[in-house]
Symmetry: C2
Subunit: 336 residues, 2 copies
């Protein structure tokens, strides 16, 4: 058990000064306060405030993702997490994050300062400041769709992209498609890399030729589709597998503008199964991620990390939802 | 909701006959009884006995693995599972399995007949009869160290072999070893395949040459080591990474017989951290699988599957336990 004295000895200052730093007193410098807090965290000291805290507190940090309305990808993830956590009497705070805010306080200090026992990070990019710090964090932390190696305090939760992409390619090959393009999202995310690897794997296991001209990387937004669609079509794609539903919606809208008939002339598959997938015309065939379950499972992983069970990754099964945007390959394409 | 009448209509027999089949009556033939039960399972009928059952029942099936005494690999896994399950008021049965017993009853029928709500399968081989049936099972089932694709009723639980092997190779390369051999276990298990892939991956990421003469497959028993050790040494190995602790113990004993000094002349690393790893001389450096946590985590995954959350895989972090069987590469080997 680390005491205030231990921290004082380590820093070569008086225990009373350490105590001031831990209790946010005004008569020591902000720099020294930070040093005391950082050293306390590093040595595993539990502050009195953390011990006294009657409410157990968790924080969900969201970045690069909409979550305010039920149509948004993040909404149900946060809802599922909260539902499960509140049942166990946790108080859950949701905070919007940005790279700039991450520069203000290192992750561990932010968590201790605010008496959070664990964090759930959603939508972070690989290059985010906090992502580098997580390598050594001592705070139980669950990452949605991100993975950190060799730290027993961190778990990765998500949907199995490999199985999702494989289900989609099963479906498309059963319809006769062989020239299946991948229109993927931003390259600076782990999910994008996973879905690309999954595409390569699944194409190979279906004995299909991999054509680099049928792979494009845009961004996970509707507007990104139009820049890539013409080239993919030119290169012979009869089906396009999209990195998420927003990209797929972009493809459907652009096809309407270009007078390309879906699914007669081109099959389109999304990923996520957002509400819009069922509403758009033609309704989108897509890979479902159950976001309420993802939220519940993320809380479960965090619960285990806090109990010192070193969960490394916990993934959910995707399901393929077949709607109207996929069909038998056009016979014209067959004769190519 | 499926009724007895629905089953009767489907089979073209009287409802009273269906009822006899479901209630294990003596005046219908065993063949018809099986047909009734299988049809009921397929149609999702819940028997009265299952509804009445006041105790909720789970079954752990163990094959190819010792679990009776605390030294055995399976002991703590079962203990951890039971501890977690009993807290939720489940009754847990442990059953030894064999391929022959699996031929007597298909998995789903066995589970329904015995009113089990979920199963936890430990130590099964890829070629086991039940493994093929699990592809389509409707019974919530957790597999230790085995993976079935595309069935939302099945989860895979284990320790991350990739990270484990990578930790061991980090350690050995830091000690100067480059000729690191892999003495792996039986090729008909998923874990063996994973550890082989992990070895190849990690050797590559450490910029080490992969030499097929430094890879051998034996069985996960002590006695297997002696058949492979001489060849690995002849081929220049200065360190041997073993598929489990029993193989590593076999290597240590055989080295004693051959008068090869560990760790001065050869470094040895195990996998599992069984009690014997700390007791043998020299004490074995090994990759720890926390088996109590594996048991708890397996129960947690089964709990979620029963609640219809389609967990696909849930892995734990390994830890490297450095003891006395690894050391700096001998200077003689360096000059090779």
């Amino acid at each position: 058990m680390v005491t205030i004295k231990d921290i004082a000895n380590r820093l070569g200052i008086a225990p009373s000064t350490v105590s001031k730093g831990l209790n946010d007193a005004n008569d020591i410098s902000p720099e020294l306060k930070k040093l005391v807090l950082d050293t306390a965290i590093e040595m595993g000291y539990v502050t009195k405030r953390m011990k006294k805290e009657t409410r157990k507190r968790l924080c969900i940090f969201v970045e690069n993702m909409q979550y305010e309305s039920p149509e948004d990808f993040g909404f149900d993830i946060i809802l599922g997490f909260k539902q499960a956590a509140l049942r166990d009497n946790w108080e859950v705070t949701v905070t919007s994050m940005s790279p700039l805010l991450q520069l203000r306080d290192p992750y561990d200090r932010y968590m201790v300062k605010n008496s959070f026992h664990g964090g759930f990070l959603v939508g972070f990019a690989l290059k985010d400041p906090w992502m580098a710090q997580l390598k050594n964090t001592t705070i139980p932390t669950v990452l949605f769709d991100n993975y950190i190696t060799k730290n027993p305090n961190i778990a990765y939760v998500g949907t199995d992209s490999f199985e999702g992409i494989d289900l989609a390619i099963d479906h498309l090959t059963a319809l006769g498609h062989t020239k299946i393009a991948l229109l993927n999202g931003s390259p600076d995310s782990m999910v994008t890399i996973n879905r690309y690897d999954a595409y390569i794997n699944s194409m190979q296991s279906h004995d299909l030729k991999i054509d680099k001209n049928l792979v494009a990387h845009g961004y996970y937004v509707e507007d990104s589709a139009k820049y890539h669609l013409p080239t993919l079509i030119e290169n012979g794609a009869t089906a396009i597998l999209c990195g998420n539903d927003l990209l797929a919606v972009g493809v459907i809208k652009e096809c309407e503008r270009l007078n390309i008939k879906i699914p007669q002339e081109l099959s389109v598959v999304g990923f996520d199964n957002l509400p819009i997938a069922a509403e758009i015309s033609p309704a989108l065939t897509t890979i479902n991620q159950d976001r309420i379950d993802l939220g519940r499972n993320s809380y479960a992983a965090l619960y285990w990390l806090i109990a010192k069970v070193p969960i490394s990754r916990s993934l959910l099964r995707p399901r393929l939802i077949v709607r109207d945007s996929t069909a038998q390959i056009p016979s014209a394409a067959l004769s190519d």
